[in-house]
């Protein structure tokens, strides 16, 4: 008989306890970040508005990828580092230039600390954002940190093709190819000139021997 009344007493006291907690939750500040109005990418606004209890997005958030082609030496290390082949890079020869970022100081290779040398230029740099898993391995492998994760996450599209990020526009590609063909022409001309000079010397030597 005791268990019968014990059941009733427990039932009421524990329910009473639970209800007091859910009633109390109504009077504590809500933790909802009203997304479209509140800009969550900046840590300051969130920290100030929610008195530090919530944090906005950190700087190293792994969002949509972005490539700074001025820093890219087309070394295709990121293409190899990506476990699921989301990145495709085509590159052609171009004239040797030393990389320098905005304020002129030379860009160093992060791992070997030597100056980054650009010998090839990129004609196609596509990232398949529909397949990418945002793991950050490409960003960690890139020697000149040309490829980075931004804080950007709003990129809803209506079809899968639109989710492909293409970083090399057609006219840039055209000028690059034109430049490449010029370089080949010069190289061919130089080689021909060298070959002709070598022939002349051989002819001179043969002449000298007779």
């Amino acid at each position: 008989m005791g268990a019968y009344f014990q059941n009733i007493k427990d039932g009421f006291t524990t329910a009473f306890e639970g209800m007091s907690i859910s009633f109390a939750t109504m009077f504590v500040r809500k933790e909802t970040v009203q997304y479209p109005e509140v800009d969550i990418s900046s840590n300051a606004t969130i920290a100030e508005k929610y008195k530090g209890s919530l944090m906005g997005m950190p700087e190293n958030y792994r969002g949509i990828l972005d490539v700074d082609l001025s820093l890219c030496t087309a070394c295709q290390i990121c293409q190899k580092a990506c476990p699921i082949d989301c990145i495709v890079i085509d590159n052609i020869k171009c004239d040797k230039t030393k990389l320098s970022d905005g304020d002129g100081s030379p860009v160093l290779n992060r791992f070997t600390q030597k100056e980054a040398l650009k010998t090839r230029t990129v004609t196609r740099f596509d990232i398949n954002a529909a397949k990418c898993m945002y793991c950050g391995l490409c960003e960690k492998a890139c020697p000149t940190s040309a490829i980075r994760h931004t804080n950007q996450f709003e990129m809803n599209r209506e079809s899968q093709e639109e989710l492909i990020l293409r970083f090399v526009s057609d006219d840039v590609k055209a000028t690059a190819e034109k430049r490449a063909s010029e370089i080949e022409a010069e190289a061919a001309a130089k080689k021909a000139a060298k070959a002709k000079k070598a022939q002349e010397e051989k002819a001179k030597e043969k002449g000298a021997e007779e």
Binding site: N7, D10, G11, T14, A15, E17, G18, I21, S22, T25, E31, S53, L54, M55, M57, P58, N60, Y61, R62, A81, P83, M133, Y134, C135, G136, L137, K140, A141, H149
Partner: protein, 375 residues
């Protein structure tokens, strides 16, 4: 009483899309009205062939896949894979001390958020939606902390072979300490709201009792095993990383509100493990040394020929990684033996003669996560 009336069993399809099967698991139930006569789980709806993919992916390229094997505690599965590879390469002693401590802090934080989801989902199946949302609110803080450390909320890819990718930001340690003080009180409050509630205890006690012998026979692991009273925890019995110089104790089931090994014991073991994890993190925050966070590892990792089977304690029991390497850049064979797989194999045995509502309680107490089951 043998009734002359010929009755037939109702075969119900607790289908792949069901609010209380966590993820996509299907149960083909033969029920007599409400009581289940026979339950046959049909798994594989989330079988993504990770082990076949592993054969064509490099050793360090596989780390993001381990996040998706158990996405509720991605950090712990990262840790167990990376330590298995380090054991295979024989470089366990070269990992810097600071990296070991960061690994423990981050995976214990992830254990708290994984147990929070496990407990919350068990409450939600019993019909109490509010505790689950309270746990989600607290989990949001942990997501903030881990996002601050490695930049992602759920699939971290933070622990790599040889240590961790980057060091913890300076504010991380003080914010974690602050969070733990707050979380310790709020967890007690949520427990008062639901775990000690009489209706909840009546729904969980004396349901699906797993005696210790059956638990060992079915190789239950983690909280499911400890719920049946067996005091075995890989962190304590086979200490790896820095767990040997941390002191914490192992909560085991003791038949609080019913017999030993019932659903309520498994549930309460998880509740107490959260308190243990808080204790562990606090010690780590005090003892963390300065220094490097990554051992010098060549860019292309080629472990020596051989095989290894290494276990670490993830929230769902000891996840074991079997790696067979032929000295090439990608593993020849990689097998992940997880806690949910064995937890699920016991359900046909304990779900006989139980109500449908109790099957939901069993799934909640065994803390089954679909991708860990199907890989």
């Amino acid at each position: 009483m043998t009734s002359a009336l010929k009755t037939e069993y109702l075969t119900i399809n607790m289908g792949p899309q069901h609010p209380s099967t966590h993820g996509v698991i299907r149960f083909i139930l033969k029920t007599d009205g409400e009581i289940i006569y026979e339950c046959d789980p049909d798994v594989g709806y989330l079988h993504r062939g990770i082990e076949k993919i592993a054969e064509s992916v490099t050793w360090q390229g596989f780390v993001p896949y381990t996040d998706r094997v158990d996405y509720v505690c991605a950090m712990n599965s990262n840790l167990s894979y990376c330590m298995a590879v380090e054991k295979l390469m024989g470089m366990e002693t070269e990992i810097p001390k600071r990296a070991e401590y960061i690994r423990v802090i981050v995976s214990e934080l992830n254990r708290i958020s994984s147990h929070a989801v496990a407990i919350g989902a068990a409450d939600m199946d019993m019909g109490a939606f509010t505790p689950f949302v309270h746990f989600l609110r607290e989990r949001e803080h942990i997501n903030d902390l881990l996002e601050m450390a490695c930049g992602a909320r759920l699939t971290y890819n933070y622990i790599c072979i040889g240590g961790v990718h980057n060091d913890l930001p300076p504010a991380f340690l003080s914010k974690t300490a602050e969070f733990l003080d707050h979380f310790e009180i709020v967890v007690e409050q949520i427990n008062r709201l639901i775990s000690y509630n009489q209706i909840f205890i009546k729904r969980f006690a004396n349901v699906a009792v797993v005696p210790p012998k059956m638990a060992i026979d079915y190789n239950l692991v983690g909280p499911n095993l400890r719920g049946s009273g067996i005091k075995f925890d890989v962190r304590k019995d086979k200490p790896y990383s820095v767990y040997s110089d941390l002191d914490f104790d192992i909560p085991i089931g003791s038949g609080r509100a019913g017999t030993l090994g019932d659903c309520y014991d498994r549930y309460m073991v998880r509740v107490e493990e959260i308190r243990e994890s808080i204790k562990i993190i606090r010690q780590c925050l005090k003892q963390i040394p300065a220094g490097e966070t990554k051992a010098i590892v060549k860019s292309t990792i080629k472990p020596p020929k051989g095989h290894v089977y290494f276990r670490t304690e993830t929230p769902r029991g000891d996840t074991g990684y079997f790696l067979y390497s032929d000295g090439k850049t990608s593993p020849t064979r990689l097998k992940i033996r997880t806690g949910s797989f064995t937890g699920m194999s016991i359900i046909p045995e304990i779900a006989r003669g139980v109500f449908i509502a109790d099957l939901v309680a069993i799934i909640g107490s065994l803390d089954i996560v679909a991708p860990e089951l199907d890989r």
